[in-house]
């Protein structure tokens, strides 16, 4: 049983867990969309007075903040007690592509070149995270959802806007990976 939680999960099992979470939330009368939290947090801080976008009943979205808090706890558990401490196994061709870009062999879930303190303390490292964060924040709010809201909830209920947004996710990701930066 402990092994079940410490090992990494297979793709088909993960896919089923994701849609199950969506259905559990639907059953409790809510919809699955993570980035809606950013709007809720801003609204609590009084943005509704100035900006009509935030002028909605943020109390009705409190459950989503609780869900977010749970996700942080769950992530902490996964990173500590449930951590197998084995390096992530990714495709050898990705490893060699990344090595050409100056990334060493994977040791944990995330590359130290991007996420370790020493890297973030440099101007380049700081800007990568700050710009990435800005893009994710602005993009997900402007498109009305992120991977959970559009790719999972939206596509499941066969919504064209979500399909357009997911195509956008890939245009952006491919641009960044193959042309702009990486």
């Amino acid at each position: 049983m402990t092994e079940f939680f410490t090992q990494s999960w297979s793709w088909w099992f993960t896919g089923l867990v994701i849609s199950s979470i969506m259905f559990i939330l639907l059953f409790f009368g809510q919809s699955f969309g993570f980035s809606a939290n950013l709007r809720t947090i801003s609204s609590c801080r009084g943005a509704g007075k100035n900006v009509s976008f935030f002028n909605f009943n943020w109390k009705s979205q409190l459950w989503n903040i609780v869900f977010l808090a749970g996700a942080i706890i769950g992530g902490t558990l996964a990173g500590t007690v449930l951590n197998s401490n084995e390096p992530i196994v990714i495709s050898p061709s990705t490893v060699s592509d990344l090595q050409e870009l100056g990334f060493s062999l994977p040791t944990g879930l995330q590359p130290d070149e991007l996420f370790a303190w020493e890297s973030v303390a440099t101007l380049k490292g700081f800007l990568i995270l700050a710009i990435g964060g800005l893009f994710i924040g602005f993009g997900s709010r402007y498109a009305g959802g992120c991977t959970s809201g559009h790719a999972i909830s939206g596509l499941s209920s066969l919504q064209i806007p979500s399909l357009i947004a997911v195509i956008g996710f890939f245009i952006g990701g491919l641009l960044m990976t193959h042309i702009l930066f990486l």
Binding site: L129, T147, G173
Partner: protein, 132 residues
């Protein structure tokens, strides 16, 4: 406790995000280089099982636990918003990874990547007016 169930589902969600390696920057790079099936398999299975489940809910008019009908809110119709917003999100996704803060050992990263965004949302509306 009304919110307890959402806390529990959230914890499951956080564990899933880490154990499935969805939040790993390496996995995201692998996906955008089309060098592994992992992420596509996850999204594919989630969407296919999601579509089937939504069809079942609609067909049998399944109610939620309060007895209310389960409704699916149609997204607003727009092309520019979704394609532009989606592309910007995708660029950020490839650059620094989305949701990597659920990693749990990196709260400071969360503050860096998400915290400063909150004041930014006041400003956000300006650019929205320009495009929309």
């Amino acid at each position: 406790m009304k919110f307890l169930k959402f806390l529990v589902i959230g914890i499951l969600f956080g564990i899933m995000m880490a154990k499935s390696e969805i939040i790993s920057w390496y996995r995201i790079q692998e996906m955008f280089r089309f060098q592994s099936f992992h992420m596509f398999g996850i999204i594919g299975i989630a969407v296919i099982s999601g579509i089937i489940g939504v069809m079942v809910i609609k067909k049998f008019n399944i109610k939620d636990f309060n007895g209310n009908p389960i409704v699916f809110h149609p997204k607003e119709k727009s092309l520019i918003r979704y394609i532009v917003g989606g592309t910007i999100f995708g660029m950020g996704w490839a650059l620094s990874g989305a949701l990597s803060w659920t990693d749990g050992r990196q709260y400071w990263l969360w503050i860096l990547k998400y915290g400063y965004r909150i004041p930014f949302f006041y400003f956000r509306n300006l650019s929205l007016w320009c495009v929309a």
